[in-house]
């Protein structure tokens, strides 16, 4: 289990640089902070401020150009691709803005994917997946294909999927960006509930300041720099 003394995620002078037309552009510049188990954090900033890039770096979907990202005290930049894959599979869940589910597969299959990738069979996962779908209010749509779900339902499936392996942290990139207000409140409420009840660490990116109420900590970005961490 995670040692509380050790941060779940720690960024040390992390930068992500892209080269465009021969010029270096900092998507994230010199970011350093720690995230502990069970925290709920909103990463905010204007469009193009580097929020999503920072989220990708923290979730090991991307690698920093400079600096280091530690997960559970281990330097992720030194891990092999296979180890990174296992790390994401066991530790991390994701909710993206659009098309979060695989449209050709059923709701249950979508929820089970991380578990199957992790080595479990669908039979082993069945009861847990059903419980999670019940939690997110989609138990009645188990056999429906992803393509037939609404945007809000897709995000709820993504939430269930993010917990099938008892992941420790949920990364959400503009999870309500494609939802109406009611749907957005439902998804955000569920995420907050998961954070509070299941102690899952919550990190979400949003440009809507009103959503920061769902988090206890707010990291603000501007031009790739962390300008506040409260």
């Amino acid at each position: 289990m995670t040692n509380k003394e050790i941060p779940l995620i720690e960024l040390q002078n992390v930068s992500k640089i892209y080269t465009e037309y021969g010029y270096e552009v900092y998507a994230v510049k010199d970011a350093s902070f720690r995230i502990y188990h069970g925290e709920s954090i909103a990463i905010t900033g204007r469009s193009g401020s580097g929020k999503s890039t920072l989220l990708h770096l923290m979730s090991c979907l991307d690698v920093p150009t400079k600096g280091k990202v530690f997960i559970d005290g281990k330097d992720s930049t030194k891990l092999s691709q296979a180890s990174l894959s296992q790390l994401r599979n066991r530790y991390m869940g994701f909710v993206f803005q659009n098309y979060t589910v695989l449209p050709g597969f059923t709701v249950l299959e979508n929820v089970n994917f991380p578990g199957v990738i992790g080595g479990k069979t669908e039979k082993q996962l069945h009861d847990k997946a059903m419980g999670l779908l019940k939690t997110v209010g989609l138990a009645h749509r188990v056999k429906h294909l992803g393509v037939h779900l609404s945007g809000g339902e897709q995000q709820r499936v993504a939430l269930a999927r993010a917990m099938i392996n008892d992941q420790k942290v949920l990364f959400a990139d503009e999870p309500t960006g494609a939802l109406d207000r009611k749907g957005a409140e439902l998804v955000m409420g569920l995420m907050k509930k998961l954070n509070e009840e299941k102690r899952i660490t919550l990190l979400f990116v949003t440009h809507e300041l009103s959503l920061t109420d769902y988090a206890k900590r707010n990291i603000r970005l501007e031009d790739g720099r962390v300008i506040s961490d409260e």
Binding site: D62, L79, A82, S83, Q86, F94, V116, G119
Partner: protein, 607 residues
């Protein structure tokens, strides 16, 4: 370093299930794009099937031609006069007799090679039912031609030739001219000299026959013509009669009910007496047609039988037949009668086909060589053995006789050989000059030794003949087929790669999600490879089905016995698999190497 960390990290340890997810995703993809995948599968199967059929057919041709030629020549090299030429891709000699063949063979034997002279001739065989079967008769040296004599092992009935026996007839030392003088001609020296000069020049003899027969023969029937024209047709006729008698069925005179018969009966009872003669002539025509013999030969065979019937109504004709024609015929047939039947070993497929058994007598109709001493007309041969090598097509037309039998039959002298080597266009004489096998014990190089000894003959290896006969196929058709098929397969491969890449790109975002959730690179590439594997497997199965169907079609309707070669069944099954996997490799690797975040971004762009 990563290896060291693997067992220390809390998230590692259990075996992952990337492959299962990849398989699930691949199956889903196949279902989702069933039409395009079906099209690819059909294209691959349809492309592969002719490829394998073509390979099979080429292999079949290659085997048949090589086996036939190797078996036909059955030597390491063959000697031929330099003037032997290649026409229509077939080697044959324009002047076939090599007069010192035995001497040359002896020289080669002295050098340690197993050399022997062989005569090969193409003759017609008269079979029941009026069928003429063309056969290649090999006259083999039963003492020295060890390679051919090893066929003894393949005898399934009867026996092989005894090397200590000379299989010749009583006519061995007597030439055609001798017989003619002794039995037929008056004692007048002038007449004898004239006939000798005329008959001793075979080409003039044949020329004379060829000029006169079309003029006279058409008017008076061949039988009449041959009595007056030349020794060759005369001998052909006379030599045939005795042999043909054995093959004839009992004749029955019937009265055909035709218009002419009815008219004759009505007009005059006297004229009606001609009816038996008309019936006889008709029966002769029928028998000649049935036995595939010249009408004149049948006519003379039956002459005695009909003589009595004819004598009743035409006493004068009867007298001529009984007192003039029949004695002449008796003398002729006695002169050319062959007491001993030549021994013959035939193939199983020939024997099975025609119901021939050991000790059966069959009629050979040797082609005319124009050489004095050769037998004209039909020759009786006794089947002493039946062999079975498994090459049924070859066995159907290849017979074996002792060298001396063929030499006698064809009029060759002991020291001669015939140089023509491979079946080609029709010629009067065909055969093989000198055949010898490499001495296996001493490992002698037959080609080098022969070149050392002879600088006045052309020397061919059997591979040369394969090249001559098979040349255009080997050097043009086969490589062309291969090039076309390679281009087709590369095109199919490029098409598969393009389609797989297109499909993979459409699924980039989804694969990005799966990678985000821990799908390994190997799992990502497997998604594409499993699709390719399934496509390839199905295409392979379809291809094998089409291939077997194609083989069946060729065997059933085109009568080409290619056979199902397991190698080509495997080939037709493997090519689609290999092609599709190779085609899928590049898009698979591309997908596998994508960082999850890049995959998600690219996927967004693809949407």
């Amino acid at each position: 370093m990563s290896r060291k960390l693997r067992f220390e990290l809390p998230w590692e340890g259990e075996k992952g299930g990337s492959s299962r997810v990849a398989w699930k995703f691949a199956v889903h993809e196949l279902k989702a794009h069933i039409r395009i995948f079906t099209l690819i599968i059909l294209i691959m199967a349809v492309v592969t099937t002719p490829f394998s059929l073509s390979l099979s057919f080429n292999y079949y041709l290659d085997t048949v031609v090589k086996t036939s030629i190797e078996d036909s020549v059955s030597s390491d090299i063959t000697l031929a006069y330099p003037r032997s030429i290649v026409i229509d891709e077939v080697a044959h000699g324009s002047s076939s007799i090599m007069h010192d063949a035995q001497k040359r063979a002896e020289l080669l034997r002295e050098k340690g090679l197993n050399a022997s002279v062989r005569h090969v001739c193409f003759e017609n065989v008269a079979l029941p039912g009026g069928i003429t079967h063309q056969a290649e008769i090999w006259g083999i040296d039963t003492k020295n031609d060890s390679k051919v004599c090893s066929l003894e092992e393949y005898l399934i009935e009867g026996e092989w030739f005894d090397p200590n026996v000379r299989y010749v007839t009583e006519r061995e030392s007597e030439s055609f001219i001798d017989k003619l003088i002794q039995d037929m001609l008056p004692e007048s020296q002038w007449i004898q000299m004239g006939v000798i000069i005329f008959a001793s020049i075979p080409h003039i003899n044949v020329l004379w026959y060829n000029i006169t027969y079309p003029m006279i023969g058409r008017v008076f029937d061949q039988a009449t013509a041959m009595l007056f024209l030349a020794p060759y047709p005369l001998s052909l006729f006379a030599g045939s009669v005795d042999s043909v008698k054995d093959a004839m069925l009992p004749s029955r005179v019937t009265h055909p009910e035709n218009f002419l018969a009815s008219m004759l009966e009505t007009l005059s009872p006297r004229l009606a007496n001609i009816l038996p003669i008309l019936a006889m002539l008709e029966e002769i025509e029928q028998d000649a047609e049935r036995l595939n013999l010249p009408t004149s030969v049948v006519f003379w065979v039956k002459l005695e039988e009909y003589a009595d019937a004819i004598s009743q109504d035409f006493p004068l004709v009867g007298k001529v037949i009984n007192n003039v024609v029949t004695p002449i015929m008796d003398r002729l047939t006695a002169a050319f009668k062959i007491e001993t039947k030549y021994p013959l070993v035939v193939g199983k497929s020939f024997a099975d086909n025609w119901g021939i058994e050991v000790n059966d007598t069959i009629l050979l109709m040797p082609e005319f060589t124009g050489r004095s001493g050769g037998i004209s007309g039909f020759v009786s041969a006794e089947v002493i053995g039946i062999y079975d090598t498994g090459l049924s097509e070859l066995e159907r037309w290849r017979f074996y006789m002792p060298l001396e039998s063929v030499a006698e039959m064809k009029g060759y002298r002991d020291e001669e050989g015939v140089e023509i080597l491979v079946r080609g266009e029709e010629t009067e004489e065909r055969g093989i000059l000198a055949i010898f096998g490499k001495s296996e014990e001493e490992g002698l190089n037959a080609l080098e030794i022969s070149r050392d000894i002879f600088d006045d003959v052309a020397i061919f290896t059997w591979e040369d003949y394969v090249e001559i006969v098979y040349g255009s196929f080997v050097t043009l058709v086969l490589p062309l087929t291969m090039i076309i098929m390679i281009i087709t397969l590369v095109s199919a491969l490029a098409a598969i790669a393009s389609i797989m890449d297109s499909i993979a790109r459409r699924r980039t975002k989804e694969i990005g999600y799966l990678k985000a959730y821990g799908l390994r690179n190997r799992g990502a590439i497997n998604i594409v490879l499993y699709q390719a594997l399934m496509m390839g497997l199905i295409a392979g199965v379809v291809g094998i089905g089409l291939f077997i169907g194609g083989i069946y079609f060729m065997e059933e309707y085109l009568m080409i016995s290619i056979g199902l070669n397991p190698l080509y069944i495997v080939t037709v099954g493997l090519i689609p698999i290999i092609t599709s996997i190779l085609g899928a490799l590049a898009p698979g690797i591309r997908i596998a190497r994508l960082q999850p975040v890049i995959a998600l971004r690219e996927g967004e762009m693809q949407m």
